[in-house]
């Protein structure tokens, strides 16, 4: 398609830049055939204004609007699911990072199950230290080969009641009933969790 062919339509539809327009109008004055073509096309172009504007039936429009509402609802529900997932993820990450920063909190939580003798002793010591404040006696716990915990320093081999209540770990222990050396181990209390 050469430009010359499209100049008339460009001129009629005002698609020319000012310089092109001036040049084309000069050409138009000199060329009667071009003038006839321009007028003929312009008349037809004006005739197009008779074309009707039609509107779609109401039921078609309504069904489209219903679909739009449905789509919005679906999008909204998937957005909620996304936000919930994001919230769970953030909670998980926050908890994870908190655990990394404070590892002893979980270890102390699991110490109920681990219950190493050392830790138990430390805690009992701690607890007994508070108990000893009332008795002014220092506890000296130790464990023998038969898994018997010896708490020395109690008067009449009696563990103070508040000590047992305050330490749930001691609930699993019971006093040794038949201790051969009981008569000789004065000022001490023997506890065991073993069935032996």
């Amino acid at each position: 398609m050469i430009d010359k062919d499209t100049n008339s339509i460009k001129y009629i539809l005002e698609e020319m830049d000012p310089a092109e327009k001036i040049e084309f109008e000069r050409e138009l004055e000199k060329n009667p055939d071009l003038h006839i073509e321009v007028e003929s096309i312009r008349r037809m172009e004006k005739k197009l204004s008779q074309l009707p504007k039609l509107t779609p039936p109401e039921d078609v429009t309504n069904s489209i609007l219903d679909l739009a509402a449905q789509q919005t609802a679906e999008r909204s529900s998937s957005k909620s699911r996304y936000l919930l997932s994001a919230a769970v993820l953030i909670l998980g990450l926050t908890t994870g990072s908190f655990m990394i920063e404070n590892p002893f909190q979980t270890e102390s939580g699991s110490s109920d199950r681990a219950a190493s003798g050392l830790l138990l002793n430390q805690q009992i010591l701690g607890e007994q230290n508070s108990a000893s404040s009332s008795t002014d006696k220092q506890l000296k716990p130790w464990v023998d080969r038969q898994d018997i915990l010896h708490l020395n320093g109690f008067e009449n081999n009696v563990l103070p009641v508040n000590t047992l209540n305050s330490s749930s770990r001691l609930d699993k222990l019971r006093p040794v009933e038949r201790m051969p050396s009981q008569q000789t181990m004065r000022q001490s209390l023997q506890l065991t969790g073993s069935n032996r």
């Binding site: 539809l13 698609e15 003929s40 096309i41 008779q50 039609l54 429009t61 489209i64």
Partner: protein, 196 residues
């Protein structure tokens, strides 16, 4: 409020009224364009509904809010319309001679099946019916350019992009469409004159 703001309200704020306003603004243009291409109310309804179903369901994926919303909608409407027209012509032998006068081949000159005797249903005046009838006889490519320009006042740059041709080709098609329409009116007038 601009189209872009309404689109944003619908997409981000899920505002149904914004979408309804967009529909109200543009539905007549879209509907009229489709009808001018297929000349059948039922088919127009189907294509119109198909267009807006795609608009609603694809907006999140394919519309980026950078370009004009209506140009994007028109592209969908245009593609759906052309798909329909081509389906109607699918089984026809297109090996035909090229007509230098109208710049069309046999394929272009095939009348659309739907374009027959639909105008009377619209209760249009005689002049408008005649115009619609002549437009329906234009080759599809020329008709598309005329309708896009008329109903959307689309710049030829956009028409060229939409129809995948150069600006000069789009302008050339417009020129030939108007010349062909003038010929059709002249022939009609000549027949009437001869019959009297």
């Amino acid at each position: 409020m601009k189209d872009a703001e309404l689109v944003h309200l619908y997409r981000k704020k899920e505002d149904q009224l914004a979408f309804k306003e967009l529909m109200n603004r543009h539905q007549a243009k879209v509907y009229s364009y489709i009808f001018s291409m297929v000349h059948n109310r039922e088919v127009t309804n189907d294509i119109f509904q198909e267009t807006f179903t795609k608009v609603i369901t694809k907006m999140d994926d394919t519309y980026n809010e950078q370009g004009k919303w209506i140009a994007w909608v028109m592209r969908i409407a245009h593609n759906a319309t052309i798909d329909h027209i081509r389906k109607q012509k699918r089984f026809v032998d297109v090996k035909g001679s090229y007509d230098d006068d109208s710049k069309t081949d046999f394929y272009d000159r095939l009348p659309d099946e739907d374009a027959v005797a639909q105008d009377e249903k619209l209760e249009l005046d005689e002049s408008t019916s005649e115009l619609l009838r002549h437009i329906s006889n234009l080759p599809e490519e020329q008709r598309t350019v005329v309708m896009l320009r008329h109903y959307y006042e689309m710049p030829f740059k956009e028409i060229a992009e939409l129809t995948d041709v150069s600006i000069n080709t789009a302008l050339g098609r417009m020129r030939y469409a108007l010349i062909n329409l003038r010929k059709m009116f002249d022939e009609e007038l000549e027949k009437e004159t001869n019959s009297v």
